[in-house]
């Protein structure tokens, strides 16, 4: 055996997978088409955002790398949704793409037990029964054996780029697609579909008229994503805002027939939540303008990213419509926008561990599973890596619950429901989002990382320190009364003198961020920890309600369906239910209940069968 585990692809999923497996002590080979591109940000220069920021923090709590990478490369930091509620706030940072990529590469290269090799995987080596993967075959004919393989090819598997009439076999503009692997998977019986995504033009900074933009500054100070970092010391940068005009829309409408999306050349389905500018113009004809963010690709490049203008129109059309935006009159395009269509593996072919049902030892993560976004990819990457190791260890896989983490929601949605468009995380996908705040990710998941062995001694110590402080703060809020001195500092407390601090903090007029300033005893604690406890207190009533719902939910989740359950022989179920459940092969009754088209009656029957299996005295 050459390696314990082989990871195919060095993107955001591949990095997390390879780092997790090698850190857990399993020799790992990362095969990439180009080591220079490890950790490359193919699309927007930002990490985090609503629900995605939560994912980053969950990855970090599990011992992943993404939080550390963005902490070392951010050039702007913001907390989104400050005004809309603490439970749905999340951090987002603009990244210097080059710095991010270098940090990622350094993390990979610095990792003991992790080798990097430049080649393109085109096929798998299987055991004689064709049921287990035993290694990979590359374009140059090299063969590497391993006990498990993690597939993270992103948009490269038979990737095809479109710009107007131009199309080319590429995963990113200028980088060749990985051909052959998709056909191998199809030959092995996997269902492989096509999805589409797009990216806007990159333009030259010195050709823009910034006086016509609105400037958007970041927050000062920047705060770390990683629970392992205390401060971020990075140079900051603004972003800028401009808008499309009626003229922009007119040009797009006139040329819509030249868009490969509208001419029928692209068959893959694109994301509705992140539409191309041509989609926005055609689908929302009443809108007289659309917002565009002008974002630096980094501090040491002149290229700027036009967020909101993703397009696959021909280059001459792109150039023409770009010039109609205020500030872009003299724009010079460095790279045109383009659409990319790629193979993805229908994710219902995976177990919740991210191992394929068809081929033992083959794990799949990232955009290959039909998702979109760096964070979604990385989240699957670390889980696939952990579970590849656990398989080799003979341990139960790590399956996070929907009530425990956005990662749990993400993977459960993918493997249970599949996806018809590139899947992006949304807070509304989480039934229990009040419990999935970004600031509590360590409390939710670090104990898991400790069990698995991915959390460092240092992380464990920091976590213990935080837990103790949080208990103290909670105790103080419950016992200490609001006094006149506090009300003098913070007038919104005036009506609460005599109330406990906890009670006073629930008043919507009292802002968590100001609260600490009025109470001297709180100033000894880290402000983010104080804020975290204040949110706990404010949401306590809702959390109790949600916890009750989670308890009901968990009962069905905990009812395991044994591997190899004979769905075909489950005669009590309707034929339709039997077919659907056989295809998904759910691991718990809860998961079975979420399979599309499964009715409550089917679940009742399933419950009955399982109860009997467990030792009911069947034949009476």
């Amino acid at each position: 055996m050459d390696f314990d585990i082989i990871v195919i692809g060095g993107g955001h999923a591949g990095i997390e997978a390879a780092l997790a497996t090698s850190r857990l002590g399993f020799s790992t080979l990362l095969v990439t088409q180009n080591p220079d591109c490890i950790g490359k940000m193919s699309c927007n220069p930002a990490i985090g955002g609503l629900s995605k920021g939560n994912l980053v923090r969950e990855i970090d709590a599990l011992g992943g790398e993404m939080g550390l990478l963005i902490d070392r490369s951010m050039i702007q930091y913001r907390v989104l949704n400050r005004s809309r509620g603490p439970a749905v706030q999340a951090p987002r940072a603009q990244a210097d793409k080059l710095v991010y990529m270098n940090a990622a590469r350094a993390a990979v290269e610095g990792q003991k037990g992790l080798s990097v090799f430049m080649d393109t995987v085109t096929d798998f080596m299987l055991d004689p029964s064709n049921s287990r993967v035993e290694g990979v075959v590359t374009e140059r004919g090299r063969r590497f054996t391993s006990k498990a393989v993690v597939l993270t090819t992103g948009t490269f598997m038979d990737g095809k780029i479109f710009i107007g009439d131009f199309s080319a076999s590429s995963g990113r503009l200028g980088e060749p697609a990985a051909t052959g692997l998709g056909s191998s998977l199809r030959r092995l019986g996997f269902t492989v579909g096509r999805l589409k995504t797009g990216t806007p033009a990159r333009v030259r900074r010195s050709s823009l008229d910034f006086s016509k933009f609105e400037e958007e500054e970041g927050e000062d100070p920047m705060e770390p994503f990683s629970f392992r970092d205390d401060v971020v010391e990075r140079p900051g940068s603004s972003c800028w805002i401009t808008f499309t005009t009626e003229e922009t829309h007119a040009i797009i409408r006139e040329n819509i027939g030249r868009s490969p999306l509208y001419s029928g050349k692209i068959v893959g389905r694109g994301p509705r939540y992140c539409p191309s500018i041509e989609d926005k113009v055609m689908r929302f004809p009443d809108r007289d303008r659309h917002q565009v963010f002008v974002e630096p690709e980094g501090l040491y490049t002149d290229e700027m990213y036009l967020n909101g203008l993703s397009s696959s129109l021909p280059e001459d059309v792109q150039a023409a419509f770009l010039r109609t935006l205020p500030g872009l009159e003299a724009v010079e395009i460095v790279r045109p926008g383009y659409a990319v269509e790629y193979d993805f593996l229908e994710p219902t072919q995976l177990h919740p561990s991210l191992e394929t049902k068809r081929l033992s030892g083959l794990f799949v993560a990232g955009q290959t599973n039909g998702t979109s976004g760096y964070e979604e990819a990385a989240a699957q990457g670390i889980i696939a890596g952990i579970n590849a190791v656990r398989k080799l260890q003979g341990e139960e896989p790590l399956v996070l619950s929907r009530a425990e983490a956005y990662i749990g929601v993400l993977i459960d949605d993918l493997v249970t429901l599949g996806t018809k468009e590139p899947y992006r995380m949304f807070t509304s996908r989480a039934e229990y989002r009040l419990n999935l705040r970004h600031d509590t990710a360590d409390r939710r998941l670090l104990p898991r990382a400790l069990e698995i062995g991915l959390a460092s001694q240092e992380a464990a110590e920091r976590f213990a320190e935080k837990t103790a402080a949080i208990d103290e703060i909670a105790e103080l809020l419950a016992s200490r009364k609001t006094d006149a001195a506090a009300a003098a500092i913070l007038p919104s407390l005036a009506g609460h003198v005599g109330d406990s601090l906890a009670q006073a903090s629930k008043d919507p007029a009292v802002h968590a961020d100001e609260f600490a300033s009025a109470i001297p005893e709180l100033s000894v604690y880290r402000p983010d920890w104080v804020r975290e406890v204040l949110i706990d207190v404010k949401y306590a009533g809702y959390i109790v309600k949600q916890d009750r719902a989670i308890e009901r939910f968990s009962k069905l989740e905990e009812m395991r369906i044994p591997a190899g359950f004979d769905w075909a022989g489950a005669t009590g179920l309707s034929n339709e239910a039997r077919e659907k459940l056989k295809a998904i092969d759910p691991r718990s009754v809860g998961q079975a209940a979420r399979v599309s088209g499964i009715r409550q009656g089917d679940i009742a029957v399933l419950l009955m069968m399982l109860t009997r299996r467990r030792g009911g005295d069947g034949d009476r």
Binding site: N81, P86, P508, G572, Q600, V605, L607
Partner: protein, 465 residues
Amino acid sequence: MPTPTYSLDDAIVALATPLAESALAVIRTSGPGSIELVASAFSRFSALKAASGNTLVHGFILAADGGLIDEVVLGVYRAPHGYTGEDSIEVFCHGSIPGVGRVIERLLEVGFRRAKPGEFTLRAFANGRMDLTRAEAVSEVIAAHTEESRMLALRRLSGALADRVGELKSGILAALAAVEVQLDYAEDDAAEDIELDIAGLGSIERSLRALASTAGRARLFRDGARVAIAGRTNAGKSSLFNLLLREDRSIVSDVHGTTRDYIEEWLDVAGVPVSLFDTAGLREPGDRVEAAGIERSGRVIGSAAVVLYLVDATGGLDDGDRDFLASHCDYTAKTGVAAGPVVIPIWNKVDREVPASPPGFIPVSVKKGEGVDHLLSVLGSVLLEGSAGGSSADGVTVASERQQALLERAADSLASAIASHRAGEPLDLVAPDLRDAVDALGEMTGEVSTADMLEEIFSRFCVGK
């Protein structure tokens, strides 16, 4: 979103016989701890706890304060025997609708949960009390009940009701989408803050409540109505009270609620369980005790659905009578729903030489029992008319208690969302209540999934960088 939750480890209760006036009713319970739970509301609790399986125990269901609710016989089953194969009690009680209601309420109070449709059968299967080959049939039965929302309920919902509920639901769904889009896209992403249409939501809430109130008749037959007899002293109130009870002695229930100020009894009027109150006579109070009694009688009158107001025809209308009648609306003049009780004025003692009854009064001789049949038929139609309730202009009404409960849940959640928003709570706390309102209506017309909601967002808002 709402995942079906079946659990097999708690105690459930449901009425096993149809909800109708009958001599006997059977209430079935099942689940771990059932016997102990029933015992906690039973007069002979140690006898019950000690009872072996497949035996009967006689005694009384007791209220929390120890008062008698009903005399019952309990059928005791111990696992693995009985219909469900779990510890189980079957309560054989009297079949009066309010009485059955009180027994079930009491069992819920001590810790039972209302069983979902088909749940007893499910447990019977789960515990191996039924044959596997019948599973599919049961699946269909359970599905038919729980999927009411999708299929049967759609058939059962009148077209007009489905349309109306659908309309109200889409109004809330639009608000929810507006909230969710702001929770799922950052301030700078979804170009601007979207104001919640609080006035619009308030009007949806009112419509929901109006619609829910049309279920009054279902509730009327379940909960009954309070009817008070009022009038000046010596107008013949107590005689009327006794007469009415004598008229229908056979259905008088065993529930007593006597106070020194007013007397309550049960009687059946046109199938409606009526709680009849005899009140203290209205006159200038002679002492403080009487004054207090009159005040309490006033409250009874205020909370009654109907007041039978007796006037002693031999004395004619005096100022007190005129004041009372003027301050309560006359049922003949009633349009829509009365704010207070509906008053039926009665011209008593027509067996004597008395002036002709004024318009709107029902002439009666309580002493000779004359006119009482007419009075009962007027009372019956007033009760049934009144229960139509709700100002449902287009005649849309709710058919079942379940629908009413869902409409009320939706209205309550909506009210809570509006209140949180007004209090300045952030949107993430407004969202769960809106979501619950949509889910409640979804149970009537078909569930709303996350995918539906995202669809709503993507079709209404141009989002995404």
